[in-house]
């Protein structure tokens, strides 16, 4: 035996901390169009390479290239840009509203808009997302009313969930958006259960589970993979790797693994790794996975490589743990600018139309906000009643809750 050595605790450290120069040279970014697109029914073992690369469609010149290009027509791409712009405008207004004390809390999507906006476009009515707090684009792309979203954020009397949940914890069955939970990762295995139910009924409804890089460490992630691997129901297991989990860089959750996508391999689940800032790549990968689901080929895992450009939430200031400049050094660029460049390159868009669209969208958002604020905000206007606090604990209110409600005077 070679020399022994006392063990030591290997604590992964990010390459840079505040004060250091941002450096993403360790992120290997393949050229757009370079990665092959296998048939959706190719065997998982043959697809291993796709978990260790990054599927990209949009190149530096704004062209859509390679085998993953072409999953959307021009109108759809224009819609996509609009959705992302809408999400960004919405975020900006809601962040500001939170600072003005109109809500208790907010979480934005800055830099990650492509993922939820494009993914939704691969789904059909009846499909169900099990999202985290950072996929509001699923709602926007599905046409959910902005005003309702805002009412939820304001916890006012128009809030569909009656003020019971933290801001951004939306719910809309109709729009394929499962009620959000504050306990990370729990939804991931529930998504598998939904898909199992569809399989038991033989009905074509796919489920999409969502999870962050950090949250893959949770037990529910394992439960989801085990059950998905065993029963092979129509589920897409999405991992949004935005490099950070509050102050903790993705290396702590990833450990010695090559990528998060590779976690699928231990379970025989095909896994793709995709440029999360490339609207077209996200859509193409989602469509590929959805096709697998709809052809009863079983689960698919997708890792979206992206960057959380903003703070974790309004309670967080990332300057304490990462250099401010890190975001701009991020090599995958801004998803809105990239899709915009593509549309311009195709002759379908221009700087002027973009500026005009930005203004229109902001008007729309502001109008919705006025409407929502006319109902109320967290501390003023019409709010859900204390009576609502006692409803929906059970379908029928049991005697002890009736008694407690009476004690409050309702």
């Amino acid at each position: 035996m070679t020399e022994e050595r006392a063990p030591r605790l290997h604590v992964p450290e990010p390459a840079i901390r505040p004060g250091d120069q941002p450096d993403f040279s360790h992120v290997r970014v393949p050229r757009a169009g370079e990665v092959r697109r296998p048939e959706p029914d190719e065997s998982p073992e043959e697809l291993r390479d796709l978990a260790f690369t990054i599927i990209r469609v949009l190149n530096r010149d704004g062209e859509a290239v390679g085998p993953w290009a072409g999953s959307l027509d021009d109108d759809a791409i224009r819609d996509g840009l609009r959705h992302m712009m809408m999400l960004r405008a919405y975020d900006a207004r809601m962040l500001k509203a939170q600072r003005q004390g109109k809500s208790s809390f907010y979480m934005q999507h800055l830099g990650e808009e492509a993922i939820s906006c494009a993914f939704q476009k691969a789904l059909r009515p009846g499909d169900m997302n099990f999202p985290t707090y950072r996929q509001a684009g699923l709602l926007i792309a599905a046409g959910y009313p902005l005003t309702k979203m805002m009412c939820q954020v304001y916890s006012n009397d128009g809030d569909p969930v009656r003020g019971r949940q933290l801001p951004v914890f939306y719910s809309s069955r109709e729009h394929g958006f499962f009620s959000i939970s504050g306990n990370l990762a729990t939804q991931y295995v529930q998504a598998v259960g939904w898909a199992m139910a569809a399989a038991i009924k033989g009905e074509n409804s796919l489920a999409a589970g969502w999870i962050g890089d950090g949250s893959t460490a949770e037990s529910d992630f394992h439960g989801a993979l085990v059950f998905a691997s065993t029963y092979k129901p129509p589920v897409i297991l999405n991992i949004v790797n935005n490099q950070w989990a509050i102050s903790t860089f993705q290396g702590i959750a990833r450990g010695g693994a090559g990528t998060f996508a590779a976690r699928g391999h231990g379970f025989g689940i095909p896994a793709l790794r995709v440029d999360g800032n490339d609207y077209l790549a996200v859509h193409a990968a989602a469509a590929w996975a959805a096709e697998r689901a709809r052809r009863d080929l079983g689960p698919t895992m997708i890792e979206y490589v992206t960057y959380r450009a903003g703070g974790h939430s309004t309670s967080d200031d990332p300057a304490a743990y990462r250099p401010k400049e890190e975001g701009s050094a991020w090599p995958l660029g801004d998803p809105i600018l990239r899709l915009k460049a593509h549309l311009i390159q195709k002759g379908l868009w221009s700087e002027e139309r973009h500026a005009q669209a930005e203004a229109e969208i902001m008007d729309e958002v502001v109008a919705a906000q006025k409407e929502a604020e006319a109902i109320g905000t967290l501390h003023s206007g019409r709010r859900p009643s204390p009576r609502d606090m006692f409803e929906d604990v059970f379908a029928e209110m049991p005697p002890h809750l009736v008694r407690q409600r009476h004690e409050v005077g309702y």
Binding site: P160, R164, R173, S179, A207, D392, V393, F394
Partner: protein, 337 residues
């Protein structure tokens, strides 16, 4: 009417429910081909197909987590946790998810799910095959909790639970699976087939959730209990010769407080009996409610008889188990007090 063991009654409830509603699906560890380590699901896979009754990986989190997804979809999953002692890995899914889904989505997503689990001791199962975790469920807003004490109740409560629109925890006292047990561990076991309480109606019927049953009338004191302890209570009361009313709660939450309070207000004395660890057990809630509802009628302190505040031991099982001797001592004390 036929005599059935509690196991047969539970199996029969499954059959009735699965026959009536194709959305009822059953899953859990070893419940499929084999029919469950206690045989409660025997024959279901054969009869209803592998998609309606199947084995799961050993992940209680996965069982409950996927069941929540299924329930939200529109199925009615009835899942088995092999022993109540093994529900902890699923506790987050039960507490944070199943219990709150209706509330947090304002009724848009619901969780009509039943989680069955064999509960309690008396089979030399030691610390991980003996626990009674009911208080860990009654503290959680959004969960209903049920504990049957006879085959007929087991069937009727399970059918009510399956038809309930919300998640229901069904704790099955495994010491009662094959026959009644009065705590006299040194006497021969009895079988439900030899006991008239083994009578079970065929077909569909429900025991409504939230309704207690007075299993013995009396005027000197009220003994409130559930599950295995109902039989221990009846035996102890009989042996004590005292005139004690015995209430079998059947459902712990929602509690039939009216029935309990009416009785204690009449008798003026009360014993609360359960097998779970005393401190912060469900008996604490009962005592707290009863002292509040019946304060002016109470002539003696409410006495709790329960498992000791230790893990459930193996060799000392019968020193731990709150058997008839302890109950009789409590009866004497509460009647004196």
């Amino acid at each position: 009417m036929a005599r059935m063991s509690m196991i047969e009654a539970i199996r029969n409830a499954h059959e009735v429910a699965m026959e009536a509603d194709e959305n009822v699906v059953v899953m859990g560890e070893d419940v499929g081909y084999f029919g469950g380590v206690f045989r409660c699901t025997a024959g279901l896979q054969k009869r209803f197909g592998v998609e309606r009754c199947f084995d799961t990986p050993i992940s209680e989190l996965g069982i409950v987590g996927t069941a929540i997804g299924m329930a939200a979809y529109g199925l009615k999953p009835v899942v088995e946790i092999q022993f109540a002692d093994y529900m902890y890995p699923a506790y987050d899914q039960l507490v944070s998810e199943a219990a709150r889904l209706r509330y947090r989505s304002a009724g848009e997503f619901t969780c009509p799910m039943v989680v069955r689990m064999p509960t309690g001791g008396g089979i030399f199962g030691a610390q991980t095959h003996s626990q009674s975790p009911e208080a860990l469920f009654t503290h959680v807003a959004g969960l209903k909790t049920v504990v049957p004490s006879t085959p007929a109740d087991a069937k009727g409560l399970l059918l009510a639970a399956i038809n309930d629109p919300d998640p229901v925890i069904v704790l099955e006292p495994k010491r009662l699976y094959n026959g009644p047990f009065d705590g006299h561990f040194d006497r021969p076991s009895r079988s439900w087939s030899k006991d008239e309480k083994g009578e079970v109606e065929p077909g569909h019927y429900e025991i409504p959730l939230g309704k207690a049953s007075t299993v013995r009338d009396g005027s000197a004191a009220t003994l409130v209990t559930y599950g295995t302890m109902v039989h221990v209570a009846l035996a102890a009361v009989e042996e004590s010769g005292a005139d004690i009313e015995v209430i079998d709660l059947r459902t712990l939450l929602p509690l039939d407080l009216d029935a309990v309070a009416a009785s204690v207000n009449r008798t003026g004395r009360c014993i609360v009996l359960h097998e779970a660890t005393l401190t912060s057990g469900y008996g604490a809630e009962l005592a707290a409610l009863i002292q509040s509802e019946c304060f002016y009628a109470l002539e003696a302190p409410i006495l709790r008889v329960a498992g000791w505040d230790t893990p459930y031991p193996h060799a000392q099982e019968w020193d731990y188990f709150p058997g008839p001797e302890r109950v009789k001592r409590a009866i004497a004390t509460v009647l004196e007090g």
